[in-house]
Symmetry: D2
Subunit: 305 residues, 4 copies
């Protein structure tokens, strides 16, 4: 019966695919099949549900910002991270430079590119990319996660704007360590290949207070609380506010078509749907989550019994 609801959710989202487009600003992303659609739900009680293209690999893109933020909070601490990066939604596009212009300004939050590049520079001297890859596999319960070399090279070939952001951060003293290495680290993290199932696994970890299904604590409770809050306020680019109102589930999207959602205390949801709306969010994914939130009362402020 839950499976039926998920199937229905998928079909509710599917018609919107044609209204969106796959991302093209990174050439390799433009090769995605716009019609792919899949959803996986991993519940805290151990049950798992999938429907559609949930084993297709795609690049994680901005959803990696969640992993990086979590690791940064663990290895660098809350204070170091948030002395240099804010916690505020910016109201501007994810790759905006405007709010970096003022003399005292720093990145508004860790979910926009500038904030995530700063966070990458905090982690990079302490945790190697290979270690991060291993952590990603653990968090997502997916040993199949690898660096997608094609995406990585494609993104590095069109990285000028992010490099501009990185050097602007350096000029403000926000970068810790070497700029080019931070940038490389950031792009590699964006190029991890995941599936809808990987994201459901990551979502479950966050829904379960940082404890994995085997009962092992991978992340501290404080880290997880911070991450979920920032996903809620900043996770869906400059559509985060509307998404919070309409869906009310902490989520993070990536332009590779992935969507990570955390129903706190209950389940992790992973969606793959590379047809994007104008703000860079999976267009079918948004609709699926809106349907599920409404049907299953998953909104953070859904009526309490």
């Amino acid at each position: 019966m839950f499976q039926d609801l998920i199937n229905e959710a998928l079909e509710t989202g599917r018609p919107y695919i044609k209204e969106g487009e796959v991302a093209t600003y990174i050439p390799e992303l433009g090769r995605a099949d716009k019609n792919k659609l899949g959803i996986s739900i991993f519940c805290r009680d151990g049950s798992r549900f999938s429907c559609g293209d949930t084993k297709d690999r795609f690049s994680i893109q901005s959803i990696s910002k969640v992993i990086s933020l979590a690791v940064a909070l663990e290895v660098c601490g809350f204070d170091m991270v948030f002395e240099n990066v804010g916690m505020e939604p910016s109201g501007d596009a994810f790759n905006s430079l405007i709010k970096l212009e003022g003399s005292n300004s720093h990145p508004y939050n860790p979910m926009i590119n500038s904030g995530a590049i700063a966070v990458a520079s905090f982690i990079e001297p302490k945790v190697s990319f290979e270690e991060m890859l291993e952590l990603a596999r653990c968090f997502c319960q997916d040993d199949g996660i690898v660096l997608d070399e094609k995406v990585y090279r494609s993104e590095m070939s069109t990285v000028a704007r992010n490099r501009a952001i990185a050097y602007l951060l350096e000029s403000k003293g926000v970068i810790n360590g070497n700029v080019e290495e931070a940038l490389d680290f950031y792009v590699k993290m964006c190029s991890l290949s995941v599936t809808a199932e990987s994201l459901a696994g990551l979502g479950l970890l966050l829904a379960n207070d940082g404890v994995d299904p085997s009962g092992k604590r991978l992340l501290n409770s404080d880290t997880v609380r911070v991450v979920k809050t920032i996903m809620l306020t900043c996770g869906m680019y400059d559509g985060s506010g509307e998404f919070a109102v309409r869906v009310g589930i902490p989520s993070k999207s990536g332009v590779g078509g992935g969507l990570l959602s955390v129903v706190d205390g209950k389940m992790g949801i992973g969606i793959y749907g590379p047809s994007l709306d104008a703000k860079g969010n999976s267009i079918a994914g948004r609709k699926i989550l809106q349907f599920l939130s409404s049907q299953m009362k998953l909104h953070i402020f859904a009526k309490k019994d």
Copy 2:
């Protein structure tokens, strides 16, 4: 024992009073006693707790935006409100004009002045100020709420920037009805005199899904969910994101020193503390809520059992 905790919370906040200042841009607000501090908590089970200056009247200021949004959703509907006003945190100051500059732009959300003036213009042709006053009394369970004529006149004497915002909205076709009447309505709503107890009453109504303590439904469930979400993402001016991370309780502050908080499904909290931080939030109030959130696990993403 709960009373002890509340007393302790108050004392935790009190030392911060001296680091803030009362608002002065509206002359009458500058006459507030910076050292006042009080907190009231009204629980869903009917119990009520107060400590400090909880019967002092002060002007509601921006907290009235919560009442106006709720009424607008009820009488105009979700679509009319949000066709003309966004749901996004802006990342800019509450009285900013920057994001109104573009040709298609509209107010980012109903918690900043531009959004609230637009909302006032939607309500004003349908609900008189006298009716709004009556609604405010019901929502807050406080028949003592009145229009503070001194504050109203003081604010009207320095209203030039808000009038500029109102006319800019008119030039964009966002204002419904007469500009000057919308502005007058907006300023009157800001000039309602409330107490910490009034705010606790309003908070309880929202915590209880729009049903008042007598069991009467005053607001629809959908309205209440939207209002709480927007309070969470936009309620603390441009400090909303950080407050969500650190406290995680939907709240709305006013420069009169009031702070309204909603612990969903549990309780309403009202605080009066007119010494403000640089962003316009009650400085002691923020600390009190952070203490209570931490001690009582009130954060929306506090560990679920």
Copy 3:
């Protein structure tokens, strides 16, 4: 022979009419005949040349900012004017609010709406509109200048954005006197009806150091120098820089289709061509001036012999 050149200039400009549009944001301006085109040149030696629709009346619009600035410099003095209004090109649109956003900001220059409304507020308490009308007639050597009541009323019916600017200025303490009266004064000045000949007359006055053809000094030498410089750097909206490079003649355009040019020490030029380019400048007028500047070596930095 000079007449032949002027005729040729007019025909050089005429084909561009179809690439532009008349202004429509003030309804009454939208009734202009797009195909009208005329040029008048009044030389310092007393000779006068005209071609095309040089006796058609149209509303002066922004060209009145030149008259107002000149009068403000005479009656209020350089210091009062430029303590409150800058002399810098803004790089933004004429009705922009962006650069007024900061706490210490003031209008960038007297040729954009915000600056001109401020200037109007400086003059209005000292010089009545009737006196300004008389001054305009003297400056332009045209007794036929009147207030076009239709344009004035039409503009007042769509004045919301300028009113917003006026109140924003008041909130910054830039307005001297009453806001509404300053705004009314500003709009009336924009609604003066002139001809291409009127503008040639005004241009000649400025070209001749403030001395009219009868030998009477109407403006001080310093005033005229300031006005010409600001026309050069700020007179053609956000196309002023390019116009200075390509044409190099101090000019001021209005969305009514007028174009005032001053060939310093030599002649005044008035053009009427209500088909506008995207920046609000007469599209044929620009081409005509570019032709004349090139043919007659009128650029301020044309090769000196």
Copy 4:
């Protein structure tokens, strides 16, 4: 007697030295002696006047933008340059990124860093730095001009913001050729060591329509006209408009303390005064030029006889 006037001008400017500061954001510039002051004037009739520290070498900094623009116009042509860089004053600081934010935006003009880096990228594939150095020597009539290696290395060590600008330009397709080589070329041009006399030589070349004192044409008439116009509207950072009003002489300043001025058809002026005002212009230099402009009627719109 003219020498007396120049001496007087220098003394008029000297007291302002103490109100400014040498530039420090490039460490090597911070070593300049704030009290240095010198002025050279080279006239079209061959006479030359100097006073003060006119043989001291200092780094040309932004004044090199004039040389680069002139060379770009000669070797790339007007169209290529201005398809990618505007001619408009920006109203923002010289190192601002704001107006580059929009999707179609390009640098506002060739006198701000973004525009000059773009221009460097146009030239660099066609003219080597060694050739540029030789051209600079010819234009300035100063064989002593060399690359100041210390300044070059110092600037490269703090080049992050300009590198950010360069990569942002690349992301917009404005850069022609290799970004790093364009940036290196740009920084090298800024690191040329000149004297007040060099600048007077360059000023004379521009005053004399591109023909050097020996009668040899080094630059086309059109190039020189464009360069002078852009110096007038954009040459003094975001103080260009006020400088045009008060002084009215096409000029370009550099944070090394140099000031290049062109009295069209008459003379070139070079000033060295490393104590800068808040906008980055030589504070004594500005006062000296204002004095000379007033005394000698050098303003472009000074009263014509």
